[in-house]
Amino acid sequence: MIKLIGLVPLFPLIGFLINSFFGKKMSKGLSGTIACASVLASFIVSVLIFMEVNASQQKSTVIEIFSWINSDTLKIPFSFLVDPLSCLFLMNITGIGFLIHVYSTSYMKDDEGFSRFFTYLNLFVFFMLLLVLGSNYLIMFVGWEGVGLCSYLLIGFWFKNDAYNRAANKAFIMNRIGDLGFLLGIIMIFINFGSISFGEVFNKASSVPTSTITTIALLLLVGAMGKSAQLPLYTWLPDAMAGPTPVSALIHAATMVTAGIYMIVRSNIFYSISDAASECVAVVGAVTALFAALIGLLQTDIKKILAYSTVSQLGLMFLALGVGAYSSAVFHVTTHAFFKALLFLGAGSVIHAMGGEQDIRKMGGLKKALPITFITMLLGTLAISGVPPFAGFFSKDEILAHTYEHSQLLWVVGSIASLCTAFYMFRLMFLTFWGSFRGTHEQQHHLHESPKAMTIPLIVLAALSVFGGLLGLPEFWGAKNWMSENLDSVIIRKNPTILSHETEWTLMAIAVLVALSTIYFAYQMFIKYKVLPADKVADMKPFQRVIYNKFYVDEIYDAIIRKPLDAVSEVLSKLVDKQMIDAAVNGVGDLTLWKASIFRKLQTGHIGFYIMTMVVGVIAIMFFSLMK
């Protein structure tokens, strides 16, 4: 079965090809079915392979498809690596991918770009699978950029809207900044290790100087920061919400943005060796988690809130990576995929019902109209807020425990971030589903629960969000942490747990307490006192204004990068290129013609003058060649 790993990406690719060539001619139903079926097929193969890997002794297998790039010692086969980590991600991607495909068939039903949508979506799944399957860094990079492309295409799916197009461009370009780091990292790996295949590189890692490893690890981190929307490269993700909601769920919450985590987990040996690099990862993660959570507090667009929440959660995962808790990070990736996909799809359902409205200030009291959506979303919110016994509780707790072990300061930061998470998520819930409806009359009339194709994925995901925690029960409970055992073969150096069980219990208690009290606070605020977010920026307090405006990061980037780049380019184009370099070239020509007009005047036509110049020439020649 492992030999058939090629099938996993092949199915979505076939789906993509069929849809791209014949999509327009097919009915929407057929087109959607093909797309869903291709992902489902992948999912099934993935599960089978996963089971086989689980059962077999040999944990990692490399399957070469064909030789891709050969240049002297640089040999890059197009080959796949099957091991527990990739299998886990495979299932994640294809599983959740399938659910979202199903959801989309209904969500996008009325869109004229229906088949195009599934074309992109299938292509995305294909690239994402490449990303996690690649047995060397470059194949990973192929997937890495490929998903970036699909993200670009899907964010700008409604391409008539220029704001969306700008968001798409921004996503692509910001990702490219990260990709540059990644690419340079790959090249450095090749130069220092002589190979970029995971197996060979990881075996040699301990024989390479730590400083080199640190550089490589930091370059890879830059890549990861771009893709996983970490500070300072996170601003594209909130804007990416311009895409259709299923896209946000699949790409910008569940799968693509976790690629950075996947990559660092894959390269865990580098970070284990280089303390400096892991420290950076941890700090980046912690700061991002807090920063994004703070911004999330005051957002009013339902998808933006979720987006900042995603950034914050990704930050948390980075924190986990930074403190060496790789399996915890993967665990959180998995649970996060469940509940964040759920939340996005739920939000999609709400938006669907609201006829495209995304502002929570215009919603309210939707729980009656959308019961299934309401319940599933509530479960998801509880999961993300870290309320036991939902999935998020376990994964988040594991991360915070490891963080505490590593640095208490980071633990405090992480805890505050999760506190904020709980707050804004419940703010979202309360404002959306409780209270009275604040939208237009027409919208109210139109409110309806979504069709089955949308609610069934919600229910499945809700179930996963509730029970996902079982994948990684805390060891100090005496339970088996399946996640960490599963990834045992992938994590090359593990940090032993040194915390006492008492401390772990205390930390867990604090986390639960904090989460619950925050929820209560939010309840008081939004249900009891019916606080509504200000409509106008002018009504806000200064600090609110800063947060509402996302700390003005976009504006700052605009001012320090985009505008200067444009300005410099203008100067280069108009001044340096035209007025200086080209003018110099033309100047040579003009100078020649100018000199020509002077030389012409020498030709006076007077014989006397000619003779004189002749004699002067004679004098000069005789003088210089004879009177030395």
């Binding site: 006076t604 036509g605 007077h606 014989i607 006397g608 004699v615």
Partner: protein, 103 residues
């Protein structure tokens, strides 16, 4: 021997005559005078050749002078013929008037 004359004297005499001729060509406007100055230059050369001929005791230097004379005569003939056509057209032999061709 007292009646010896250093060849240097002849060289410088010729050079001076040559240069006077050259200055004449540069300083005069009358075409005929200019021709005459060129003749003067040629004669300076003749003088030089004859003196060297005597120095080397070799007649070929003097023979060369005959050729120079022949050429000088031919040049003068042609020159004056051209000059007469010029004169026919512009009624002057002022060389500074002959500067239509320029630049």
């Amino acid at each position: 021997m007292l009646n010896q004359i250093p060849i240097n004297y002849y060289i410088f005499l010729s050079a001076i005559l040559f240069i006077i001729g050259a200055v004449g060509v540069m300083a005069r406007r009358n075409a005929i005078i200019i021709f005459m100055c060129i003749e003067l230059m040629l004669n300076a050369v003749n003088l030089l050749l004859v003196s060297f001929s005597t120095l080397h005791n070799d007649p070929s230097g003097q023979v060369f002078v005959f050729f120079i004379m022949a050429v000088a005569a031919a040049e003068v003939a042609v020159g004056l013929a051209i000059l007469s056509t010029v004169y026919r057209n512009i009624k002057s032999i002022d060389i500074d008037l002959l500067s239509k061709l320029k630049n």
